[in-house]
Every structure is written in structure tokens, then in C-alpha cells.
């Protein structure tokens, strides 16, 4: 029983990080109908910015005691840098292609993704680096679960960020504009909504969430490298599709489910090398039987 609880706990932790990334995918897809492949690499850049932030703020060797100011600064720095990256990405690569075919944008997105990955290899080198423990690690045990404080921090931060995002999307003027753009780009622009700005801000918000996810992920796994974004990125994309792409709560649900699913591969004794195969099998099954996702409504295609 405690074993099951342990796996559930681990799954929810991973799922929260995946959900943070999935939100970026789903919001961008919502407004632009574009799979932003580069999102997983913004996540990677976020982790690296966290790394450099930690080093420049004197936490490069790890912290002896919890210093909320500096940890907060690290998160803010990483999120700001990635927000800028997401903004530039949209401005330079995607905006000129608004009019073109979806496949053109998709290829561009793949191009940007590979540019960031391998450009990252040039700038950051391809080595694995260990991410400093910017918050001292302590051991916790409750309900028969053995854990460090990191998963708890991840859970709290992720839930807080998702709550903030939900507030923005459902209770602010900008959120309403974003949902309108997501519903119909043209109508929204006719109604006087500055669609370009909404798209930009959507990219910025998605990228900041990915950056936070990147720092949390790096903190949890303790290791970063320029290709670290690929697998979590694909998984969180699957999560976004599973929950219903374009739907904000769907991404959160999907992230949790994929995280749990990954963990249960281990729980049921399958080799962990099957994890990504199973994730993709889920994706394919979802697309075949419920293409709109768990929370989505199916809309037949019009000619």
C-alpha cells in the first residue's frame, strides 16, 4: 500500500512539471493552432538560466540554509529570460508565417527547436552539468512515503503557478481576450482585440511557465544538458493532447495522467526504457479514439 502511495506521489510530482510545460503547448495551440516544438527547448533554456542564476548569485555550490530572496531571484531571472526568448521566437520565426500553411509553421517550429538544442550545445557545451541544490535538501517521511523536500516544493510551486495562470485566463481582461482569440482569431480581431499582442503575451506566459518547470525539473533531477528538453517536451505535448489541446485545465489533467502513467510503468515492473513507447502509445490511442482529448469537444471538419 505504501509502495503504491509512494509511486502515486512520485507520479504526481513528475506530472506537475509536465503540466507546467504542457500549459505552454496548449495555450499556443489554442491561439495559433501551431505546435510550438521549440517550447521544450525553452524549458531547457530555463533550466540553464537557473543554473547560471544560481552561480552568479553565489548559490553555485548549493545553499546551507533556505534563502527565499535568492531562490526567488533565480526563478524570476530564468522566467524573465525565457519570456523574452519566447517573445523573440514568436516575433522572428512565427509571426511572418501567420498567413502560410500550417505545415510551413510546423517545419519552422521544428527548425527553431533544433536551433535552440544544437545552438545550446554550442553555447553551453554538450556536457552534463550538475544543478546546484539551491534549497537545502531535507528528508521527509509521511504516510509511509519516503521523500525529500524537493517534490513537496515542486508540488507547491507548480500548483501556485497553475492557480495564478487559471486566474489570468479565466478572471482577467487579458484572459478573456486570449480565450476569444483562441475561439476565433478573425472574429476577435474584428472585435478590436489586439490579436498580435495577445499572441505575444501568450508566448511569454507559456515560456515563463516552462522556465519555472525547467528550474524545478533541474532541481529534482540534479542534472542538466542542452538536450534535456526533448523527452519531457514530447511527454508534455502528449499530455496536452491527452487533456484536449487548446484547453487549459486539460493540460493540467493530461500532465498529471502522463506523470502517473510513467511512474506506473515502473510500478508494474516494466523496464523504464518502455516509458516513452507507452507514452506515445497513449498519444496514438487518444488521437484515434478521442482526437479532441479527454476534456475537448469533437468538432467535425468543415469544408
Amino acid at each position: 500500500m505504501s509502495d503504491l502511495l509512494q509511486h502515486l506521489f512520485n507520479g504526481v510530482t513528475t506530472g506537475c512539471i509536465l503540466a507546467l510545460i504542457a500549459l505552454g503547448y496548449t495555450m499556443v495551440y489554442g491561439v495559433l493552432k501551431l505546435i510550438n516544438f521549440a517550447h521544450s527547448d525553452v524549458f531547457m533554456v530555463g533550466a540553464f538560466m537557473g543554473y547560471y542564476g544560481a552561480h552568479s548569485l553565489g548559490l553555485g555550490k548549493g545553499a546551507e540554509r533556505f534563502d527565499p530572496l535568492r531562490v526567488g531571484l533565480i526563478f524570476l531571472l530564468s522566467m524573465a529570460a525565457c519570456g523574452l526568448l519566447g517573445f523573440l521566437n514568436e516575433k522572428i520565426a512565427y509571426r511572418p508565417l501567420r498567413h502560410s500553411n500550417r505545415i510551413t509553421s510546423l517545419i519552422t517550429a521544428i527548425g527553431v527547436s533544433f536551433f535552440l538544442e544544437f545552438g545550446g550545445q554550442m553555447v553551453f557545451t554538450a556536457n552534463y552539468r550538475s544543478f546546484p541544490e539551491i534549497i537545502p535538501k531535507t528528508h521527509l517521511s509521511f504516510l509511509g512515503i519516503e521523500a525529500t523536500n524537493y517534490p513537496v516544493i515542486i508540488l507547491v510551486t507548480a500548483v501556485a503557478l497553475m492557480a495564478a495562470l487559471s486566474y489570468i485566463v479565466y478572471f482577467t481582461r487579458f484572459g478573456r481576450a486570449m480565450r476569444a482569440v483562441s475561439y476565433s482569431f478573425e472574429t476577435a480581431s474584428l472585435m478590436g482585440i489586439p490579436t498580435d499582442r495577445v499572441v505575444s503575451i501568450t508566448f511569454v506566459i507559456g515560456s515563463t511557465l516552462a522556465a519555472a518547470g525547467g528550474v524545478l525539473y533541474a532541481l529534482n533531477y540534479g542534472e542538466i544538458n542542452p538536450l534535456m528538453g526533448v523527452m519531457p517536451g514530447l511527454k508534455s505535448f502528449v499530455a496536452a493532447v491527452l487533456g484536449g489541446i487548446g484547453i487549459v485545465p486539460g493540460a493540467m489533467l493530461g500532465g498529471l495522467l502522463i506523470g502517473l502513467c510513467d511512474e506506473f510503468v515502473v510500478y508494474f515492473g516494466l523496464p523504464s526504457s518502455y516509458q516513452s513507447a507507452i507514452t506515445f502509445t497513449i498519444l496514438i490511442l487518444v488521437l484515434l479514439f478521442r482526437p479532441a482529448g479527454l476534456l475537448g469537444k469533437h468538432e467535425p471538419e468543415k469544408v
Partner: protein
């Protein structure tokens, strides 16, 4: 050696024959004649490939030989993906997975059945016990080549069929999806296949499969490349191929015309993956070693770049792009060696144009970013101005606010658009500066103060650039007034006072740059050399930049045809996005 040259000559003759037969084939009207010319063409092709295979290894070194083989395999890959992505318009991102299926199947066959077949191969007429009496090993090796050839052909076909089967199985469910979903699902299937292979112990699992026999040679590689090109062209002229084109252009309309779209798409998928499997098999028997990591999705991505660069749907484009992209990394390696020795004057001289363009590119990019920031600041300022109840927005702010960004940020020609004078002066100045640096680096200045030299040459370059540029522009737009002597009244041509003043203001800047360069140049060059020497493989970065630039400027690719352009221009409605 002479013999090798003779054989190669014979091969070239054979290729000429192929060209002739191809031309003849197009003219020949009667079906019987067409069959005959096609047969003769193939015979000539295969014959010349055999001759090349026997001769070329003696004529080139092993490095070039490797590149030649690689080019052939890449052609097969790119043209096969073009059948799926280009001709049928189904964006598949899992090509590497099907390659892996073919590679592993073929390798498994040659390693097991091939070894067992050795037994009966010995009894083939040309390998019988009497072969030993022939005495000459050269004579004995040719028949042996034939028998291993038979085994390899069987393995190739089996690899292709296995991949096609995998493609069929993958295609049935996933081809119901469209566009980006299909891309993701095929990517997923590619990864699943790789994942499964990495867990099957018989074929080495994640350890890799060593000791695959080295059967791939120029003959096999290029005959398969020729086959896939031939199949593509015949496909384009046949009913199923036309159906694929129709599905690509508009699936709904195609279905309305009675085309079984799912069947058509699956056909394209199966044909494409068949040749992907064959390419994989060739690859495995060339490297003599297989590893699941080799078939990661960046391999698929590489093939996609070839197809996209060549122009989706264009068979020749895919083939040409495959050749270019197979050779490019080698050229890049050479460039890297060159750039790693920047401090040598000769190298500096050779690379000066590239460095110049790199500097220009960086300067333009910086200018665009600065403009972006400036525009943002102006927007902010005017917003504050309006919110705080200020009067009419200041003209400068309004102008800055409304100034558009260059459409293709950072791409050199466009970034200069609307700023011809800046372009001319900048180009001339940088050229002058380089002339000065080169002059000092190569010859050394006799007694002239270096700063004066840099300064003068930069200025002279700028002035010359402006003068030449304005003259040139004056010629192309005579209405604007060619003399330009009227002064700084904003006339577009000629060297007005305003421009002279601008040059005067830019000159101190040039002086500053020159003196910094003079002090820092050697150290800077040394540092750059170290950077270039330690650079990891820049291939993927360049590929991705190329892809982005291509999509922004010419999404139909280099050889994209007109029909495909309509496809690319498609359907604002379906994107759901308007400006």
C-alpha cells in the same frame, strides 16, 4: 591504375548511354519500343555501376569513397520520404524508425541466413568445388561477389518489405489524422519502433548489433537510388500517383472525385517506407554496425530537411538536396579547420569575405534588435503620454511607433531595405577597414601610423561606397535627379550634404573601431581561432537555421513546382488565422 581508369571511362560511357536511352525513351511512341529502351537504359545503368564499383575505389581515397556511398544512401532516403511528404502530402516524421526496421531485418538476415547460406552457396555452378581449380583468387572473388550479391539482394528486399509492412501497419491508424497530428503520431511511432528494437535481445538491444557483413558497395547503393528515383517518376505518371497528388492538393475534393483517400495515402506510405527500409539496410551493411540511437528522430529530421530544401514533391529537388546535404558536413569540417587557424595571414585573407559577411550580419541583427527595443520604448512612452493626459503625441514618438519592423528580421538583403545609403557606406567602410587590416597583416605598413591608415581607409571606403552606390541608384532611378548636387534636400540620388555630414559623424566611430581593432585584433583573432577549434559539430545548427530561413523566404524549397506552390499558399480558412 590504368585499368581502373579504363573501367571508369567505360562507366562514364554507360552513363552517357543511359542519358541517351532516357531521351530516346521519351520520344519512342510504340509500347514495344518503350519497353526496349527502358530495358536498355537499365542494363546500361547497371553495367556502368558495376564498372564504377570496380574502378572508383582505386581512383579516390577512402574518405571520398565514404562520401560517395553516403550520398547514394541519402538520395534513396530523401527521394523515398518525398513520396510520402511531397507527392502524397502526408507529413511523416518517423522515417528513421522505418529505416531502423529495414536495417535490422536485413542485417539479421545476412548474419543468420547468410551464414547458413554459405553452405549451399558453395554448390552454385560458379562456386562449385571446381572453382578451387581456377587458381586465381581474382577470378574466384567475382563469382563470390555474385553469390553474396544474391544474399544481399534478398536481404535488401526483405528489409524493404519489413519496413513497408511496418509502414502499412502504422499507416492504417495514423493516416486518418492530418497535418500536425499526423506528424506527431509518426514521430511517436518512429520512437516506439526504436524503443522496441532497443529491447529485443536477439538483435543486440541497446548494446547495438556489431559485425554486420560489409555488403554495401557503389553498385547496390546507386542502383537502389536509381530505382527509387525511377519509381517516383513512374508513380507521378501513373493513376495511383495522380491520386496521391490529388489527395495532397485537396483531400476532400479528391474523395469527392471518387478517390479512396485512405488507400492512396497508405499506398504512398508503404512505397516510401519500403525504400526507407532499403536505405536502412544499405546503411547497416555499410557501417557494419547498428545501434538504436542512430535512428533517433533527428535522423528523420535530417531527411525532412533534404525534402523541404529540395522542394516538397520535387523528385530531382530531393535528390539534389540529398547530395548537397551529404557533402555539406564535410565542407563544414574543412571550414572549421580553416577558421581554427585565423591568426595565419593566408587563412585570414582567404576567409576575409566570410568574416565580413558574418560581421555585417551581426551588425544588422543588432540594429534590428535595437529597433525593436526602440519601438517598444516609443510605444511605452506614448502610452504613458496618453494615459497621463498629455497633448498630441510628439511627432518623433509617433514616427517611431508606426515604423514597421523589417519583415525578415536579420536576413541581410531585406534588413538594408529602405536604408541604401547606410548599406553603401557600411559596406564600403568595412571593406576599407579590412583592406587596412589585410595590408598591415600581410605586408606591414612602412612608417605610416596604423591609426591613420585604418581611419583613412575606412573613410575612403565609406565615401567610395556612398558615391558608387548613389551613382548606381541614380542610374536606376533617373527621375530622382542624377546629379544630386542640389544638396541635402532629401533627393534620393547623389552625394548630398546631409550624407556628407553623416559620413563626417560616422568617421570618428570608424576611428574608434579601428583603434580598438588594432589593439585587440591579434588577441581577438587568437580567441576566435580557439572558439572555432573547440566548436562542436555545427551541422544541426546550420540545418535548422537553413530550415527557418527557407520557410520564411521560400517555403516551396529550391525546386518546388508551381502546383505545390498553390498547395503551400493554401487555405487561410483552415489555419484559422489572419493577420
Amino acid at each position: 591504375m590504368t585499368l581502373a581508369w579504363l573501367l571508369a571511362l567505360g562507366g562514364a560511357f554507360g552513363v552517357a548511354l543511359v542519358v541517351l536511352f532516357t531521351l530516346w525513351h521519351d520520344r519512342a511512341a510504340q509500347p514495344g519500343k518503350r519497353l526496349a529502351t527502358a530495358g536498355a537504359g537499365w542494363a546500361a545503368l547497371l553495367g556502368s555501376l558495376v564498372l564504377f564499383d570496380l574502378s572508383v575505389p582505386y581512383l579516390v581515397n577512402s574518405y571520398i569513397w565514404q562520401i560517395i556511398i553516403k550520398v547514394g544512401i541519402y538520395i534513396t532516403l530523401a527521394v523515398s520520404l518525398n513520396i510520402i511528404n511531397g507527392i502524397a502530402g502526408q507529413f511523416s516524421m518517423g522515417h528513421a524508425g522505418f529505416m531502423a526496421v529495414g536495417a535490422y531485418t536485413a542485417a539479421y538476415l545476412t548474419m543468420t541466413l547468410g551464414a547458413r547460406a554459405e553452405g549451399w552457396v558453395r554448390w552454385l555452378p560458379w562456386n562449385g568445388p571446381w572453382a578451387a581449380f581456377a587458381g586465381s583468387s581474382a577470378l574466384a572473388s567475382l563469382p563470390h561477389g555474385i553469390s553474396t550479391g544474391i544474399i544481399f539482394l534478398i536481404a535488401l528486399l526483405a528489409g524493404g518489405l519489413a519496413a513497408a509492412l511496418a509502414g502499412y501497419l502504422v499507416g492504417i491508424p495514423s493516416l486518418r489524422l492530418r497535418g500536425d497530428y499526423l506528424a506527431i503520431v509518426t514521430l511517436g511511432f518512429g520512437e516506439i519502433i526504436r524503443n522496441l528494437i532497443a529491447n529485443v535481445d536477439v538483435i543486440g538491444a541497446s548494446r547495438g548489433l556489431p559485425a554486420v557483413p560489409h555488403y554495401s558497395n557503389l553498385f547496390w547503393v546507386y542502383s537502389m537510388a536509381a530505382l527509387v528515383i525511377f519509381v517516383s517518376y513512374r508513380l507521378l505518371a501513373s493513376a495511383p500517383g495522380r491520386a496521391m497528388l490529388a489527395v495532397r492538393e485537396d483531400e476532400v475534393a479528391a474523395a469527392a472525385m471518387g478517390i479512396d483517400t485512405t488507400r492512396t495515402k497508405i499506398q504512398a506510405f508503404a512505397i516510401g517506407t519500403f525504400f526507407a527500409g532499403i536505405a536502412g539496410a544499405l546503411l547497416g551493411h555499410h557501417f557494419e554496425y547498428l545501434h538504436p540511437d542512430y535512428f533517433k528522430f533527428d535522423k528523420s529530421f535530417e531527411v525532412i530537411i533534404m525534402v523541404v530544401l529540395g522542394g516538397m514533391g520535387s523528385v530531382s529537388g530531393a535528390a539534389v538536396a540529398a547530395v548537397v546535404l551529404a557533402i555539406a558536413p564535410e565542407a563544414l569540417r574543412y571550414a572549421k579547420d580553416l577558421l581554427g587557424n585565423l591568426t595565419e595571414p593566408a587563412v585570414l585573407f582567404a576567409t576575409a569575405p566570410f568574416i565580413l559577411f558574418a560581421l555585417l550580419f551581426l551588425a544588422l541583427f543588432a540594429a534590428d534588435i535595437a529597433r525593436l527595443i526602440g519601438r517598444g520604448a516609443a510605444r511605452f512612452a506614448s502610452a504613458v503620454h496618453v494615459r497621463t493626459g498629455g497633448g498630441p503625441v510628439h511627432a518623433d514618438i509617433a514616427r517611431l511607433r508606426s515604423r514597421p519592423m523589417t519583415r525578415w528580421t536579420g536576413l541581410i538583403p531585406a534588413a538594408f531595405s529602405g536604408r541604401p545609403a547606410l548599406r553603401d557606406a557600411g559596406l564600403g567602410g568595412v571593406l576599407g577597414l579590412f583592406a587596412a587590416i589585410l595590408h598591415r597583416g600581410l605586408i606591414g605598413a612602412g612608417g605610416i601610423s596604423p591609426r591613420i591608415e585604418y581611419w583613412t581607409l575606412t573613410l575612403v571606403g565609406m565615401a567610395a561606397g556612398l558615391l558608387i552606390g548613389s551613382r548606381a541608384r541614380g542610374r536606376t532611378a533617373p527621375a530622382a535627379g542624377a546629379s544630386g548636387a542640389a544638396g541635402g534636400d532629401g533627393s534620393k540620388a547623389g552625394l548630398g550634404y546631409r550624407r556628407l555630414a553623416a559620413v563626417g559623424m560616422l568617421a570618428p566611430l570608424g576611428f574608434l573601431i579601428a583603434s580598438v581593432l588594432e589593439l585587440q585584433a591579434p588577441a581577438f583573432l587568437e580567441r576566435m581561432s580557439v572558439v572555432f577549434r573547440n566548436l562542436p559539430d555545427p551541422r544541426m545548427v546550420l540545418y535548422s537555421m537553413m530550415l527557418i530561413a527557407l520557410m520564411l523566404t521560400r517555403p516551396t524549397g529550391l525546386f518546388g513546382s508551381a502546383e505545390i506552390r498553390t498547395w503551400w499558399r493554401e487555405k487561410r480558412g483552415r489555419t484559422g488565422v489572419a493577420r
